[in-house]
Symmetry: D2
């Protein structure tokens, strides 16, 4: 298996002015994610953030990205439509996409779902258990019957997304809600995985099982090649020779 090239994209705003976030992610949430991914020698990992030119997602970067990871929260509206269209085109051509937590409301996720992507939520400290519905799925490799997270923000149903192709994790929250927390969709030639945990003021991305799921998803989402799209005017085919 050849190397998988991963780009971790982070809004990288709240770390700078939210001490409760900076304490867990002093170099930015993207660096924490990139850091644990780099312990997998099959991956080559770079990062990109909102305030870089083109948000760090130039054509050149995306051409060298097999799987893009996306974390955004407060500044979805600041992501340029041009970059969103570019990322979307790359996903449809086969680039894998992993959308984390509040990225459910990013332009790119809404664009690929074709749905509201809305949900219930509560700023609180809930316990969360992500139940493993598909233990034989590669994204769940090494995960037991559930992932336990001691403190997380709550997301609740109904989650405004099309029926997932595969529903891997469903969360239980101590406050009384449930959520489809790990799900996959195919769009064009690209594979998409949404993974719920990861509120910025909790150390969720330091949780070994959360890291394992994201690492698994990177391998699952990578395509072997890009296939450009395009409607085509095609000539009539010649008939097959008689049998």
């Amino acid at each position: 298996m050849s190397t998988v090239r991963v780009t971790v994209w982070n809004e990288f705003r709240q770390e700078k002015n939210t001490p409760a976030m900076a304490v867990h992610y002093p170099h930015g949430l993207h660096e924490t994610i990139a850091g644990f991914l780099r312990t997998d020698s099959a991956l080559v990992v770079r990062t990109a953030t909102l305030d870089e030119p083109e948000h760090g997602l130039s054509e050149a970067v995306l051409a060298e990205t097999d799987v893009l990871i996306w974390w955004g929260h407060k500044a979805h509206a600041e992501v340029s439509d041009e970059v969103v269209a570019r990322v979307r085109r790359c996903v449809l051509e086969g680039m894998g996409l992993i959308v984390l937590h509040s990225g459910h409301y990013s332009k790119i996720f809404k664009s690929l779902m074709g749905d509201s992507c809305s949900l219930r939520w509560r700023v609180a400290t809930d316990r969360e258990r992500l139940w493993n519905l598909l233990p034989s799925h590669p994204i769940a490799a090494g995960i037991g019957e559930c992932i336990e997270i001691a403190a997380e923000e709550m997301y609740g149903e109904p989650f405004g997304v099309p029926t997932p192709d595969e529903l891997i994790f469903v969360s239980w929250f101590s406050g009384g809600e449930v959520f489809r927390s790990g799900a996959t969709w195919r769009r064009g030639h690209g594979k998409i995985f949404y993974f719920r945990p990861g509120h910025e003021t909790f150390p969720t991305y330091h949780h070994p099982d959360v890291q394992r799921v994201i690492g698994n998803a990177v391998h699952w989402a990578r395509a072997t090649r890009r296939i450009p799209d395009g409607a085509r005017r095609i000539p009539p085919r010649e008939p097959l020779p008689p049998a």
Copy 2:
């Protein structure tokens, strides 16, 4: 809309020797279900039980049944393979089927799912909330954001069923589990709905929302006609005339 003919099937064994069940269902669980369905003037409701000849499910009865409701628990193995094959054939031809609670392990449900239908369970008194994922689905008509049940047995994931066509309810249990509690599948020309609540020692089938869901499902599951199955040897079609 013409009349819908419903047959409520119940194992009807535990009521006779389980006081905790008889207190809630003195005439049998089937009579409670039939009773609330009969308040809908669009329905004509009969019952059938395990110990009747042919389990009450003769060809004649099934030919006059638009929707069959199934509750079984301890005696799945006593249902004859012949009757199961008959019910299965009718479902594939278009008869609706609503499987309740422990019916998940009935021969007929396993036969139509083609899967293990296994699940986790715990004899306890959990609180249950069934979250409404598809409020615009006809089965969820009149149901709010969730159904609350004060005391129920726990069922937990993974539930060994094929990916549902539609996932309508997901349960939260106070003990810490989740479950896909309301889901639909199409098999042949028949529509199938599985609905989780209904442990025999709780008054679940007296709950207004539970009654409403079952009533809705009856209308949803009914087909307008039966379509017999059969592979066919067919002659080559004549070509269409030139345009």
Copy 3:
């Protein structure tokens, strides 16, 4: 069953300068479609076209529309993003949407699919047979084993759409291709049906089976109410009382 309010939207450009289209649709393709729908007394039908103010799709019109039918071809780019966003919001709230033929490449369909919506195509005169995969589906009511169309444009796979919730028709073309010609998706609270036939220079919308499918789809797609969307910040729920 109460009245269904239908709006038939047509680009209405080619009729004016394409004699081969005008001969079949002298008052515009929308009037042909509205005309046969009006023979169903359960429907109230209006039309709207691109060159009307707001393309004929004001908030007021959409608020009174249960099901919107869409035919566009050459002028997809001229449909304003504002109107597309409005239609999209209404679909997510529960308005039904039926997209016809070259509408596969409309902004609204691409927006709701989240996919490329591309396909192969050939300007030619193929014979088409739409095979009926789900004869018990309400959209296929009254349709036999297939719909035969003597002359149509060819659309071929791969069709760049998410896996349909239901695949009702698959087309065979005399030139050697196949296509998923009738399929449904749920987005938000809205039901969407795509139906392939309908090239502008053929009399396809005068075909009785094509008319029947569109009429069936109108009844299938209508919702009983609109449900506004929106992520919500919700307070912790009070715990249920002890069992």
Copy 4:
């Protein structure tokens, strides 16, 4: 990637008395399939046939089988229910299953689909084109826009199966029909692929693209481990410690 252990099961009856079959498969259809699979050094391939003890599918053989390939036609009824139950259990635990052509009507396929598995068919010599709907799917690796087969038996829709998880190939037949010829389903922890071509009197299994699809499917269907099934009575979990 470690070795994949494949068992090719064949009814192996018609070869002995049907010269039109024996000419293409002189040592049995299973030997032709096993032969081309053995050119892949990552596979270890054995065969099994109906008239061996336990049809060649003892517990020991299945315990050493990662992927089972199934071809049957005239003698489905002679396969013992005990062996079918054993194969089914292994699939649910994670053994891959590839069902070929007339195997659509085998006991094992019907058991896992929970549906009629019926279809239209015609003994004739049609040309077949299998269109590639998911060129980025691993089962379609190396396949172009379609697979062309000069002479095959016709299978037509409706095919009585649950909605596939993935629809990879749809066939066009010169006689005027279409068919979902390559499709996947998940059952328990097992992955199932149905592949249509392969009538016994045609040299279909010598076709390079047909061989490539079957070889791809073997790699796709293999699981990394078996997961025994079973409903479990589980104790209440201890609550998580306060956050």
